[in-house]
């Protein structure tokens, strides 16, 4: 190896993937669970908005589920999934779900009463009101939740390396130790971080495109902001 960063892209052949291949695998293992989490979270959140009494217990369950360490979760799943990608993806989907449900509920609830009344007065039915009024207004809150879920999901996939080479880019970390090549660990950390930042930026871009009525830059509002604050997602990553 020549120089400090020599062999940066020389992936050991026992990983059975090229560098782009590892990136693709990593993105798939990280993003599919977030998507699954979102698809499950939307109806669940709507249920919580409709049945107010359901929300506190759901919130308690999600807090407890989120506290379960990923490694413990991965380990316990072996009985049910075997050594497949699902073993990594199921916990990640659960974590995403758990982050997204409160974000969506807060977002949908932050829609002002007058807006809803106006929609009803215009003759919107409940479904149309949900799709065309509540959901779009909740987009900033949903995207904020998605950002947290996506970034932590991308970071957590690497832990899969511990349970038998299910970690995509995380497997480079094991290889770095096995072959005593720190460069591979640097590669893994940098690539994962860049992927996370890129996905985060894409989500911010999506929010800007989806909410053309919001001021694009300078979101500095006065301390005493009137009107609904976009709900803040639970500050959570691991």
């Amino acid at each position: 190896m020549n120089g400090a960063l020599g062999g940066f892209f020389d992936i050991p052949s026992d990983l059975q993937h090229s560098y782009p291949g590892l990136i693709g695998l990593h993105l798939r293992e990280a993003l599919l669970p977030v998507l699954a989490g979102l698809l499950l979270a939307l109806p669940l959140a709507q249920l919580c908005v409709r049945l107010r009494r359901l929300y506190p217990p759901v919130l308690a369950v999600t807090t407890v589920l989120y506290a379960i360490p990923s490694l413990a979760f991965f380990v316990v799943l072996i009985d049910y999934t075997g050594q497949t990608e699902l073993r990594v993806m199921i916990p990640l989907a659960v974590y995403s779900l758990v982050v997204l449900v409160p974000a969506i509920v807060d977002g949908v609830r932050s829609v002002p009463e007058e807006t809803l009344a106006a929609a009803t007065a215009m003759g919107f039915g409940p479904v149309r009101r949900y799709l065309q009024v509540q959901l779009p207004i909740a987009v900033p809150a949903i995207v904020a939740g998605l950002r947290v879920a996506t970034v932590s999901s991308i970071s957590l996939v690497s832990v899969g390396a511990l349970i038998g080479n299910q970690g995509a880019l995380g497997n480079l970390l094991a290889a770095a130790q096995k072959y005593d090549r720190p460069v591979l660990a640097v590669n893994s950390v940098l690539t994962t971080a860049v992927l996370a930042i890129l996905c985060d930026a894409l989500l911010v871009l999506a929010r800007v495109l989806l909410t053309p009525w919001m001021p694009a830059a300078g979101r500095r509002r006065p301390r005493q902001a009137a009107g609904p604050e976009p709900a803040r997602p639970r500050e959570a990553t691991r």
Partner: protein
């Protein structure tokens, strides 16, 4: 054999209850690492969050910093530090602190910033100094949110300290990592159970602390 069977076997085996690799010792190690990391992260995150929240400045820089820190994969950082610095407490503390600072910092900032401005103005009108305003007006009101930031940091530290066993640290992760190598699934599942329980105990501790220190007037619900 299912997961529950493994759990009862693990905890039923008296060999797991004493000695260097016994549950009490590993549990103590795990709690020590977690407390140290939480203390370090709080020592960084709380003051910065309180000051920036009070002045209302630097929010964008803070958000940027938090996003960057969050993007760093903690497991990757852990292995990288271990590869670069060798085995020891320092290479483990770095990723744990990097992991825990953003939630503490951002939540504290948000908590102080979103305090209702009228009591703050009233306090200022009464002639309170800025430090007193921060500690006697803003802090008590912001406390529930600040605690929730500390709570999520603590839970994340507990779960990531498990992974630290991979780079030869002690703690409860030893059971999982060693068990995986020894193909001793009883040990793996036992360790996973212990970590999950510890994380839940952490939640409970923060809940109890919240009941004790948050003023009843501020408590929500």
């Amino acid at each position: 054999m299912n997961v529950l069977g493994f759990v009862s076997d693990f905890f039923g085996d008296s060999a797991h209850w004493h000695g260097y690799d016994g549950i009490p010792h590993r549990l103590l190690e795990h709690v020590q690492y977690s407390l140290l990391a939480l203390a370090l992260a709080a020592a960084i995150g709380l003051p910065v969050g309180l000051v920036t929240g009070h002045t209302g400045r630097g929010g964008n820089a803070l958000a940027l910093l938090a996003t960057a820190a969050r993007a760093l994969p903690s497991f990757g950082l852990l292995v990288l530090m271990a590869v670069l610095l060798g085995i020891g407490l320092v290479p483990v503390m770095i990723p744990l602190v990097v992991l825990a600072v953003p939630p503490i910092l951002v939540t504290t900032y948000e908590a102080v910033r979103s305090v209702d401005p009228s009591p703050v103005d009233a306090a200022r009108g009464m002639g309170m100094r800025e430090t007193r305003i921060l500690f006697q007006v803003e802090m008590p009101v912001a406390l529930p949110l600040i605690l929730s930031g500390l709570r999520s940091a603590a839970v994340q530290i507990v779960s990531t300290a498990t992974i630290a066993a991979y780079v030869s640290l002690g703690g409860l992760g030893r059971y999982i990592v060693d068990g995986l190598y020894q193909r001793d699934y009883e040990k793996v599942v036992g360790g996973a159970t212990l970590v999950a329980v510890l994380a839940l105990v952490t939640l409970a501790v923060f809940w109890a602390v919240g009941r004790l220190v948050v003023s009843p007037g501020v408590r929500r619900h």
